[in-house]
Structure formats: structure tokens, C-alpha cells
């Protein structure tokens, strides 16, 4: 029971801090913390896929692209309410995720990683080909833009809703099935878990989360969606976030989101190396150091702190 109370207290604490932050921080910093929220959603989504079914995806940047373009195009052509476009991004990415999940069923481990990598590289090429509908290299501009405070509120409200949704999904029958698939596919099948259904479902849910993140991501860049925003680096950042997070811990996911959401911005002003490339040097080095020190990510670190005797 103490464990449960601890979780509840920490949730309330996080929520309280997040509610206060926009009144304390400058406008620029509000935008930064909103960006952390966006990565929180994407990392949470990838965590569901990798942490609960053991499937690796390097293609979540592509789902963010699909979500982002959904928002941009709907807003441009139909002046749709932005919140509605996020729901649409969720739905469309769920469908695309399920469709990609179907072939992914046959691929395991490293081949799945390569296939999703291919997906991540391919999707940003599509707007260049269908340039009349998707704007080509010039991108798509939404019909309305939002303030940083709006973005902050939307990002963290969406984070909260999606976090609760994930909790509801994972605590029940579905979560048990996912975990069974992760621990041993063969044993799961033998116990009556329908592997194809659950694996594609996990892919779909995970993709839908990335879609919402992508939708917010486009709003964060003044409602402007262009192919170069969704390069392979974005997919790698989400993967890094998930690895830094470790598996199945709220604090871990927060840490992962802060790591990929804040560090590149903070480190862009390193004195010695210079602003332009200090970011990459510091970020790359930090990724390596964190993985060397905590191979199981932040969640693994927490688990170790909770049980110091085992360490």
C-alpha cells in the first residue's frame, strides 16, 4: 500500500509543479517545458511498444510526421479546431500503426528495427512527391497559430490524458497480454494470447501516441509542417528518450523526455566548442555516458535505489 501511496503522491506533486510552472517561467522557458511534454507523449508511446511487447521501433519520427501533417493539412483546408486535429492525428496514426504492425509481425528484433528505420527515412520523402497536397519542400502552414502558454497547456493536458489512458490499458487484460508477449512469445501463444492481435494493437496504440506528439510538435514550430523537421534524428531522439527512460516508470519517462527535450537546447551554448555544434557533441557524449552508467535507463536506476541491498 505504501508503494501505491508513494506513486499517488508523486503524481500529484508532478501535476502541481506543472500547474505552477507557466506562472513562474519566462515565455521562452514555457515553450521549452512544453517541448518536454511533447517528447513525454512520444516516449510514453514508444515505451508501450518496447517496454510491454519487446518490439523495437526506430520509426516513431515518421508517425510524428503523419500526425503533424494531419494537423497542418486539416487546419489549412478546413480550419478545423486544433484539438480536433489532434484526435484525428491519434486516429489516423493508430490506423497506420496497425497497418505497419501487420508486416512487423513477421519481423523480429533487428529486422524490425531496420524496417522501421526504413519507414522513418521514407515517410518524410512523401510530401516532396505529393507536393500539391502536402506542400513539398515549402511545407504546410496551419490556418491558426497558438501561444506558448496554449501549447504548454495542450501538451501537458494531452500528456496527462494519454498517461491515464496508458495506465488503464496496461493494468488490465491487455497489459498482461502485452507483458506475456514480451517475456516469451511462445509461452504467450501457448497460454492462448493471440499474438497477431496484441502485437498489431500495441503498434497501433504506440503510433497513435506519436501522432498526437507530432501534432503538437507542428504547433510548436508556429504551425508549420515541413519534411526536414521530421528527419531520422527525430526518430533517434525518441528512441534515445525511451532508452534513457527505461521500462515502465513514470519518473523514467519524465527523465527521458527532459533528456531529449531540454539537453540539446541547454547545451547549444557550450563555451569552448561554440554554439553551432556543441549541441551535437554534448548530446552525443551524454547519451553514451548515460547508457554506460545506466544501461537499464532511469527506471533501472530507480529500481536499484529502491533496493540498495541488491545493487
Amino acid at each position: 500500500m505504501t508503494r501505491r501511496r508513494f506513486t499517488l503522491v508523486s503524481l500529484v506533486a508532478v501535476a502541481a509543479v506543472l500547474c505552477v510552472l507557466p506562472f513562474v517561467l519566462s515565455d521562452y522557458n514555457v515553450a521549452l517545458v512544453a517541448q518536454v511534454g511533447i517528447f513525454f507523449i512520444a516516449v510514453l508511446g514508444l515505451n508501450i511498444l518496447t517496454g510491454y511487447t519487446g518490439q523495437i521501433s526506430i520509426g516513431h519520427g515518421a508517425f510524428m510526421a503523419i500526425g503533424g501533417y494531419t494537423t497542418a493539412v486539416l487546419s489549412r483546408d478546413h480550419h478545423t479546431n486544433l484539438v480536433v486535429t489532434m484526435v484525428a492525428a491519434f486516429a489516423i496514426c493508430f490506423v497506420v500503426g496497425v497497418l505497419l504492425g501487420l508486416p512487423a509481425l513477421r519481423l523480429s528484433g533487428v529486422y524490425l528495427a531496420l524496417a522501421t528505420f526504413a519507414f522513418a527515412v521514407s515517410v518524410p520523402q512523401l510530401p516532396l512527391e505529393w507536393s500539391t497536397f502536402l506542400g513539398g519542400r515549402d511545407g504546410v502552414q496551419t490556418s491558426q497559430t497558438v501561444s506558448n502558454t496554449w501549447l504548454y497547456g495542450a501538451a501537458w493536458a494531452a500528456s496527462a490524458i494519454l498517461f491515464v489512458l496508458a495506465w488503464l490499458i496496461l493494468r488490465g487484460r491487455l497489459g498482461r497480454a502485452f507483458r506475456a508477449v514480451r517475456d516469451s512469445e511462445i509461452a504467450a501463444v501457448a497460454s492462448g494470447v493471440e499474438l497477431p492481435v496484441y502485437k498489431t494493437l500495441a503498434f497501433g496504440i504506440s503510433a497513435a501516441y506519436a501522432g498526437v506528439a507530432g501534432s503538437l510538435f507542428v504547433l510548436a514550430t508556429n504551425g508549420f509542417a515541413e519534411p526536414s523537421e521530421f528527419g531520422i534524428l527525430l526518430s533517434l531522439e525518441i528512441l534515445i528518450g525511451a532508452a534513457v527512460a527505461g521500462l515502465g516508470s513514470l519518473w523514467g519517462i519524465l527523465a527521458g523526455a527532459v533528456f531529449v527535450g531540454l539537453l540539446p537546447n541547454v547545451s547549444s551554448s557550450v563555451p569552448v566548442i561554440g554554439t553551432a555544434h556543441g549541441q551535437d557533441v554534448v548530446f552525443g557524449a551524454a547519451v553514451i555516458v548515460v547508457m554506460l552508467l545506466f544501461p537499464a535507463g532511469f527506471a533501472g536506476l530507480i529500481a536499484r535505489l529502491r533496493r540498495p541491498a541488491d545493487a
Binding site: 524496417a115 521514407s122 531520422i232 533517434l236 566548442i273
Partner: protein
Amino acid sequence: MASVETSRLGGLRNGGSALSGIITPVNVVLVACAVGLLVGSLRSALFAQLTIQGLALGSVYGSLALALVLVYRATRIVNFAQGELAMLTTYIAWQLVQWGLSYWEAFFATLAIGFLLGTVLEVTLIRPVLHRSTIAAVIVTVGLFILIDGVVNWVWGGGFKFMPQPFGTTIYRVGGVSISRLYPGMFVVMLISVVLVWALFRFTKLGLGMRAAAVSPAQSALVGVRVDRMLAIGWGLAALLGAVAGLMAEPSQFILQPTLMQPILVYAFAAAALGGLESPGGAVVGGLVIGVGLNLVVQYVPAISSELQLPVAFAVILAVLLLKPEGLFGHREVRRV
């Protein structure tokens, strides 16, 4: 679409049969496609030109794919930094040329540096995490990707650099076809390095040890193979092959810039997935298939512009993986429960 099929699967003769040497339906199809390429080349000068260029580029993709396969066989991870490592060694070669070495002196010095770099990285960064978490080791290579990119931009800047032409600027004219000496040169250099690596694995005691360490580390340790050392050498060889790929890729793009290897890494991934990550021969064949295939498809299929090159290549590869999830030359993993 007939030309698409032919081109995508062409090019067995160039290294594939030597390395795998089994008569299978896949091999028969590949030989048929190679014959198709030959016939096409004899009938059309443009076709021949595209094929030769494709083979040269494909050999670069293939050797980077081979580097990925060597790393995968040694340590069971995909090295995302393989392309950036190759880019880094190419910059080192450029620096050596600036310091007054001739191109080929710099070439061989860079290979040695590449080998050293690969082994050092395996020992210092990969080995400590590998036995604790495979995913963490993969993420380390992703971090390395970003780090190398930053370091190269920091040290050498992002501007264009120029290297001397390794094979001169001679252009051959054969029966109405003009072919820069560069392309046969690239192809021959890549072929020699691949054959040397293959010979190392096939005929030397070191190679035997490395193969044993890759297949069953525990048993080979029991019979006295220094498994750790073998894995480090595997990484070193991979970096060396990558260095050759980088040095040969540079003249084909005419400029040296930090993004040199990024598209090539993508094609190398495709080649490795196509050939099967377990299969060195498959990687080389996969690289040639992709090099020739893309070159011909973009020219002859009007619906596929160069923007769609990547998506189409990957749609095809996904299709291959769905029909044969272990790749063309891989082996299906069978597990006892």
C-alpha cells in the same frame, strides 16, 4: 516493370557466388538477372553506363553493409555509427593529404587508423554495456552517430572539402559508351578489399577464431579462442571496410562533407536487410543489387522520380522481408522450446 525486376536482383557474379557458393532458387534468379544485365548492356550504351555506375556505387553500399554484418555477427548489434565512422576516417584521410601525404599513402594510413578506431570503440564503449543490455549498446552507437557528427563539424567545419582524384580523370570510350575510370576503379578497390576480408575469414587461423567466436562464444572460449579479442578485431575490420567505403564514396560525390555517408548508410542497411544480416556474401550482393537497381529504376520507370527512390526501395525490401524474413541469404532461426 520487367527492367525493375532484372535490375533489382542483378549482379551475383561480383562476389556473391564466391562467398556463399550454394545453388538455390535465389542464386538461380540472380544469375538470370546478371545475364539480363549483360544482354541489356550489350544492346544499349546508356544501360551499360548506368549498370557500371550502379555496380560501383553498389560496391560501396555492399562494403558498408558488410561492415554492418561483421559487427552484427561479432556483437549482435546494429552499429548505427558505422557510416559516420567511415565519414570520420575520410576526413582523417583528407587531413593527411593536407599534411603532404600522397593519396594512396593517406589511403593506407587511414585504413590502419580506422582499424584502430574500431577496436578501441569496441573495447571502451561497447563491451562495458553489451553484456548488460543489447538495447543500451545500440543506443551507444546512436550516441556515437551524433557525437561524431558534432566532432567533425567542430574540427573541420561543415563546408565542402576536396580530395585528389584517386584514379585520375581518364574517361574510357568503349563502343559509344563513355565511362569515367573512377567507376571501374571504385569497383575493383571494393572487390579487392572484400575478397581480402573473405580470405582472412576463410583461410587464416585468426579468421577461424573469429568465425567460431561469432557462432558460439562459450564453446570457442573453452577451446582457447580469445573471444573478447576476436570481437574487438571484428569491429576493427568493420571500421576498416567502412573506411574503404568512405574513401571510395567521396570521389563519386566529388565533395567531402559531413553528410557524406548518411544516405549511403541507409542503402547499406537496405543491402544488409536484403542479404540477411547473418550473411557476409548476402550483404555484398544486396549492395550491388540496390546500387544497380536504383540506378536503373530511376532512369527507366517514369513514375518513380528521384524523390521516391528511397520509399520505393524500402517498399521492395519490406516485401522481400515479408516473403523471406531472414533475408535472401540468411538462415531461418529455429528454436527449441
